[in-house]
Amino acid sequence: MDLLQQLAFQGLNGLIWGLILALMALGLNLIYGVLGIINVAHGAFYMLGGVLTWYLWYLAPWGFWWGLLLAPALVGLLGLLLERGVLRPVEGRPVMTIIVTFGLLLLLQHGVLLLFGGAPRSLPEPVRFTVGFLGLHYPGYRLVVALLSVVAMAALWLLLHRSRLGLWIRATAQSRELATALGLPVPWIYLLTFGLGAALAALAGALTAPLVSVSYRMGEEVLIEAFIVVIVGGLGSLGGAALAGMLLGVLEGLFTVWASPVLARVLALAALGGALLLRPEGLLGKRSGSGEEAR
C-alpha cells in the first residue's frame, strides 16, 4: 500500500474504534454527569454485551442481530437493578463509587468466568463484504459498526435534546436540588440514566464482539481508554467525550502508518495528555468546574 492508502486505511480503522470508544465514553459521562458515579464497572457492561451476543449467536440463527437488540436491553435492566440495589447509597460521592463499582466489576467478571469459562471465543462477522476505495479492500462489517455507532449516538442526542426524559436528565445533571424542588422524579431519572449508560456500553460490546475475542476480561482495555477519553473530552461533556474518542481513534490509526500499533497507541495517548495539559478542563469541558453539566 502506498502512503495515501495506508493513511486512509489506518485512519478509517482508527475512526471506527474511535466511534466505539465514543459510545463507551458517552455512557460513562452520562452516568457521571447525572448520578455522580465514576462507573468502573462500565467495562463489565461492555463485556456482558459481548458475552450475551456470543451466547445468542451460538444458540440461534440470526443470533447476532438479536444480540444487538437484546444484549443492551438486558444489560440496561441489570443496570437498573444495580443502581437501585447497590449504588444508591453512594451516589454523589465519587470516591465511594469507584470502590463500589470496582467491586461490581470483579463480581461480574468472575461470574462470567464461572459460566462462560476462561478461554476467549470468537464469533464471525455477521455480514461479509469488502468495500473498495482508493485501491483498498476494507472489511465491510466495520463500516456497519461505524454506521450503527453513529445512529446510536444520534438517537442518544435526540433523546437528550428532543424528549422530555432527556430534558429531565439534563436538568438533573445541572442541579439535583433544583430538579427535586421542581418536582422531577429524580430517583427514576437516576435509575433510567444508569440503565441507559449501561446499555450503551453493552451495545459497544455487542458491536465489537465479531471483531475481537470475547472473553471475561475484554472490557479492561476499553475501560481505561474510555476513562481517558472522558477526562480529555471534559468530564460531564458528552460532545467532548465523543470528540475525544474519535480523536484518539484516528490519531492512533494515523500513527500506526509509521509506528507499530503499540507505539502508535502510546503516541496517541501522549498527544491526548498534551491536550489535557493545554486545556485541563477537557476539550469541551466547562472552566467553571462544576463538572456536573451534561450537554
Partner: protein, 445 residues
C-alpha cells in the same frame, strides 16, 4: 446571662445528643460493615475460581504432591485446558509413584506471568508440593524459573522459548518438550526451498514469539532467503487489522505466523478478509492453530505447520498408534482430535507434554529412590540424560533429556491442512532437532 446559660445549656444538650446520635450510628454502621464484610468474605472464599481445584487422593502423609501451574484462563486457556486434562488422566492412571499416592494441586496462571509466578509460590510454599509441572506460557515460565531455583523445587516448564533452557534455565528445570530452536532447525531448509525466499514474520509479542523472531532470520538468511519484516502483535490484541495492513503482501512469498491461542481465528479471518492469504504461502508453528478446529476455517486450507504430534490418529506413525489410542482414550479425545462429549478440539501437538512429564518423573523417582526434597540432587542427576522409549507413558515417541541443559528432544513433523484436516507430509527424527547446548547445568547453577 440567664439567656446565655440557657443557650449554653441547650448547646451542651444538643452536643451530647449529637454525640449519642453519632455513637448510635457508628455502632450500627460498624455492625453493618461487619456483616457486610463477613458476607463478602464468605462469598469471596466460596466462589470457586478456576484456580485451586484440588484433587486429593487421600491426604495421607505418604503422598507425593504434584503441583500443576496451568493456564486455565486467558490467552492460552485452550492449551491449559488440555494440559490439565492430560495430567489428571495421567494421575488417575498411575495413581502412585514409588508406592506413594499422588496428590495433584492445580493453580491457574490466567496466562499472566505475574499471576503464574505468584501461584507457583503458593504451590510450593503453601501447598508444599514436591514437584511442579509448569505453564505453557513462556513468559510465565521465565518468571517462574528463578522461583523454582530459589525454592529448590524441580520444575517442568512447558513453554517453548529457546531461552528457557539456556539463558533463563537452571538445574531445577527440566523440559520434556522442544524449544523454538528445534522447531526452526528441523524445518527451515525445507521451508525456504519449498515455500519461498522472501518472508514476513508475524509473532505474538511475548517470550515465545520473540524467541521465534530471533531464531528464524539467521537460518533463513543461511539458505539464501530474506526476512522483509517482523511484526510483533500483543498476545491480548483483539483487532489485527492495523498489524496486517503492515504486511508487504506484494513482495512476500511466505507469511510465517506464530500466534498461539484462541485469537488466532480472528487473525486468520481478518487476514483473509484483507485478501492477504490468497497471495502468500501461510506457514506456521503448530502452536498457531493447535486447539483450533481447522475444518471450520476455510482460509486455513493449504497452510503448512511444523508440529510435534499428528492431530489425526490415522496420521500417527504405525508404531505409535497403539500408544496414541491409549492417550486419547485416557484424556477423552476421539480419532479426529475432537473432545468426547464436548465442543473443543485437542491441542494434539501439546497435550502430551504433561502426561509424559509425569511419567518421566515417576521413572526417575523410582530409579533413584527419591524420598523427599533432600534427595533432589540425586533425582536431578537421574533425570539428566534420561531417555525413554515410545510406550503408553510416552505416546509421542522416544524422548531423551540432554544432561547439560536439561532439554528434551523428540520427533517433529511437517503437516498441511488439506480438506480441512491436518495431514503429515514429513517426519523428522529427534536427532535432527538437536543443536549445541548453550549452558551446562551439570556444573552447578
Amino acid at each position: 446571662m440567664l439567656y446565655n446559660a440557657r443557650v449554653k445549656g441547650m448547646g451542651m444538650k444538643m452536643k451530647m445528643g449529637m454525640e449519642m446520635e453519632m455513637k448510635k450510628l457508628t455502632r450500627r454502621e460498624f455492625l453493618k460493615a461487619l456483616v457486610g464484610a463477613g458476607a463478602g468474605l464468605a462469598l469471596g472464599l466460596g466462589v470457586p475460581l478456576r484456580a485451586g481445584a484440588h484433587a486429593r487422593a487421600g491426604a495421607a502423609a505418604e503422598t507425593i504432591r504434584i503441583g500443576h501451574q496451568v493456564d486455565l484462563s486467558g490467552a492460552l486457556a485452550i492449551y491449559g485446558y488440555w494440559q490439565d486434562r492430560a495430567l489428571r488422566a495421567a494421575v488417575a492412571e498411575l495413581g502412585e509413584i514409588a508406592g506413594r499416592p499422588i496428590e495433584l494441586y492445580t493453580e491457574d496462571t490466567a496466562s499472566s506471568p505475574a499471576t503464574g509466578a505468584a501461584r507457583l509460590r503458593k504451590l510450593i510454599q503453601q501447598d508444599r508440593v514436591d514437584f511442579v509441572i509448569g505453564s505453557q506460557h513462556s513468559g510465565v515460565c521465565k518468571a517462574s524459573l528463578p522461583i523454582a531455583k530459589e525454592l529448590q523445587t524441580i520444575y517442568f516448564p512447558l513453554g517453548e522459548a529457546t531461552e528457557l533452557t539456556s539463558k533463563w534455565g537452571n538445574r531445577y528445570s527440566f523440559k520434556v518438550n522442544h524449544t523454538v530452536r528445534s522447531h526452526v532447525q528441523v524445518s527451515y531448509r525445507w521451508a525456504v526451498e519449498n515455500l519461498g525466499k522472501r518472508w514476513t514474520i508475524v509473532v505474538a509479542d511475548y517470550a515465545f514469539g520473540r524467541s521465534h523472531a530471533a531464531e528464524w532470520p539467521p537460518r533463513i538468511a543461511e539458505e539464501g532467503g530474506e526476512v522483509l519484516s517482523t511484526i510483533a502483535i500483543p498476545l491480548e490484541a483483539t483487532d489485527f487489522v492495523p498489524y496486517l495492513a503492515k504486511i508487504d503482501v506484494k513482495n512476500t512469498d511466505v507469511l510465517l505466523y506464530v500466534f498461539p491461542g484462541g485469537s488466532v481465528v480472528r487473525f486468520i479471518e481478518q487476514a483473509a478478509s484483507l485478501g492477504i492469504l490468497e497471495r502468500v504461502n501461510l506457514f506456521g508453528v503448530i502452536c498457531s492453530i493447535d486447539g483450533i478446529d481447522t475444518e471450520t476455517i476455510p482460509a486455513l486450507e493449504g497452510s503448512w505447520y511444523v508440529s510435534n504430534h499428528p492431530r489425526l490418529h490415522e496420521e500417527v506413525p504405525e508404531k505409535l498408534r497403539e500408544y496414541d489410542a491409549h492417550l486419547r482414550r485416557a484424556v477423552g479425545v476421539d480419532e479426529r482430535g475432537h473432545e468426547l462429549g464436548g465442543p473443543r478440539t485437542v491441542t494434539g501437538s501439546h497435550y502430551w507434554y504433561a502426561w509424559e512429564a509425569l511419567h518421566l518423573l515417576k521413572r526417575a523417582v523410582e530409579e533413584c529412590g527419591w524420598r523427599s526434597k533432600e534427595d533432589n540432587p540425586v533425582l536431578i542427576e537421574t533425570l539428566e540424560g534420561l531417555a525413554a522409549e515410545a510406550g503408553y507413558g510416552f505416546p509421542q515417541g522416544a524422548l531423551f533429556i540432554r544432561a547439560q541443559d536439561h532439554q528434551g528432544f523428540h520427533d517433529h513433523y511437517i503437516e498441511r491442512v488439506e480438506g480441512g484436516k491436518l495431514r503429515v507430509k514429513l517426519h523428522f527424527p529427534k536427532e535432527e532437532a538437536v543443536y549445541p547446548p548453550e549452558v551446562d547445568y551439570t556444573k552447578g547453577a
